[in-house]
């Protein structure tokens, strides 16, 4: 049931296109619109407020968090997600608070259909950058996105079918801005640490997804030993 680590080889045949969109997302969209708006929001709302807002949206993702583990053959995790939803929606006041974690030790685990496909053995496929909606993804996860759009209600937008379009856009934009504010320090650190930010962020995405799919299976937690062999230059590649 637990797949091995995904191959280190990265497939990025659309790199030219990806880099262009990455430039748009990272330098233009984030540089001139999203970033400044997020900074303004950070000025108004303390981090605690941002976190509670994020938790409300995350709680709305519960249909996905309950269904995906079932498809992955992990009913226990599904039960945990269901308990979290029931407790946090009531005692936790619509998900503003997380008593399920604080008092019962039921930790949050984000699930989506891309991970389920991964558990089923589908590899990530080519890396892909899509404007604004999926700044970092891969073919597998992009194809899975419509399912998550419907099930991960907080992330997706199925409810916008019934809501007026401006309400849908406002809520999505608020959520997006709030998330951007929460990762601000990490984003700065990532940009500072990267020699080639496109590659660094691609690699971090793929490594992170591989880990999400392993769901913390301890033996597969770190990359394989091959990575840690000193290449003395004598051994020829296969």
């Amino acid at each position: 049931m637990i797949p091995g680590p995904e191959p280190v080889q990265v497939s990025d045949p659309w790199q030219g296109f990806n880099r262009a969109i990455f430039y748009f997302n990272n330098d233009l969209f984030d540089g001139y619109l999203l970033g400044p708006v997020a900074h303004a929001w950070m000025f108004i709302a303390p981090e605690t407020v941002q976190r509670h807002i994020e938790q409300v949206f995350d709680n709305l993702n519960s249909p996905g968090y309950v269904i995906q583990p079932l498809l992955q053959g992990d009913p226990k995790q599904s039960g945990i997600a269901l308990s979290r939803f029931l407790i946090n929606s009531t005692v936790g006041v619509a998900g503003i608070f997380d008593p399920a974690h604080h008092y019962l030790g039921l930790a949050r685990r984000q699930e989506d259909f891309g991970q389920t496909l991964g558990v089923w053995g589908v590899g990530p496929g080519p890396y892909l950058v899509i404007p604004i909606i999926l700044p970092r993804t891969c073919l597998r996860d992009a194809l899975a996105y419509p399912v998550d759009w419907a099930l991960n209600v907080g992330d997706g937008g199925i409810w916008t079918i019934w809501a007026p379009w401006y309400a849908g856009i406002s809520v999505s934009a608020s959520r997006y801005t709030n998330r951007r504010a929460l990762i601000d320090a990490d984003l700065d650190a990532g940009r500072a640490a990267a020699v080639d930010f496109y590659i660094a962020s691609r690699d971090a995405y793929l490594q992170g997804r591989a880990r999400d799919i392993r769901n913390g299976a301890e033996a597969e937690e770190t990359p394989n030993d091959e990575l840690y062999q000193i290449d003395d230059g004598n051994s020829s590649p296969p």
Binding site: A193, V195, T222, Y228
Partner: protein
């Protein structure tokens, strides 16, 4: 009767012998596992304690603090080995001089970025060093969790991979925050830059990056 007794004695002797052999084998195979993980863990615990002592010492100026943290990093990270791992198979295409240049720049880069992460420390964080695992190649991976303070509500998990050296004991060769190996991440960047733009460009880019970052740090 005597025959039975001698048979019993043989069986007893044999089974005792077997039990002894099994115990010995079990001890031989399990003891080093524990001792290696324990040794690596105690080194790491010292590193954490020393770092926290510096961070919590309010009498230090930020420059002194930075210098002290850097000296811990130089002491506990195996930078030359990390640089080798990051270069991977590209290492053979670098001259000895270029390898040295890369090591210097890489070390500086890690010190600068590693130093930055401490700016977020508030003093309310709880740092817990969890269990460890002996890897197939005798490295040890240790699990650390940070909760409270600047950490997100679910906490942050950072794994550290350590390798035993002959002269300096256990030293860190990789940092793996939330499952993303720093070595792997740098290696894919190096691979890309070397293939597309060449070795000289790699060293130059790293150099420029360090220069602008050091400038930013001096300003702040």
């Amino acid at each position: 009767m005597s025959c039975t007794r001698s048979t019993m004695a043989t069986v007893l002797r044999r089974s005792l012998g077997l039990a002894f052999a099994l115990t010995w084998l079990a001890a031989a195979s399990s003891a080093p596992v524990d001792s290696e993980v324990t040794a690596a863990r105690s080194t790491m615990q010292h590193t954490v304690d020393d770092t926290l002592a510096i961070l919590n010492d309010k009498s230090l100026s930020s420059d002194v603090r930075r210098a002290k943290l850097e000296s811990i990093a130089v002491d506990r990270f195996d930078f030359p080995r990390m640089a080798q791992l990051v270069l991977g198979k590209n290492r053979s295409s670098l001259s000895a001089e270029q390898q040295q240049q890369f090591l210097d720049e890489f070390k500086k880069h890690l010190s600068l970025t590693y130093g930055r992460t401490f700016d977020r420390y508030t003093g309310a964080e709880k740092i817990e060093l969890g269990g460890g695992r002996l890897e197939g190649n005798k490295d040890v991976t240790l699990r650390m969790t940070i909760t409270g303070g600047s950490a997100p509500p679910d906490g942050v998990r950072i794994d550290y991979r350590l390798r035993a050296t002959e002269s300096d004991g256990w030293r860190i060769i990789d940092v793996i925050p939330e499952g993303v190996s720093l070595i792997q991440n740098f290696r894919s960047q190096v691979q890309e830059i070397v293939t597309q733009k060449g070795v000289a460009n790699l060293i130059q880019t790293l150099h420029d990056k360090n220069a602008s970052q050091a400038q930013g740090q001096a300003r702040s």
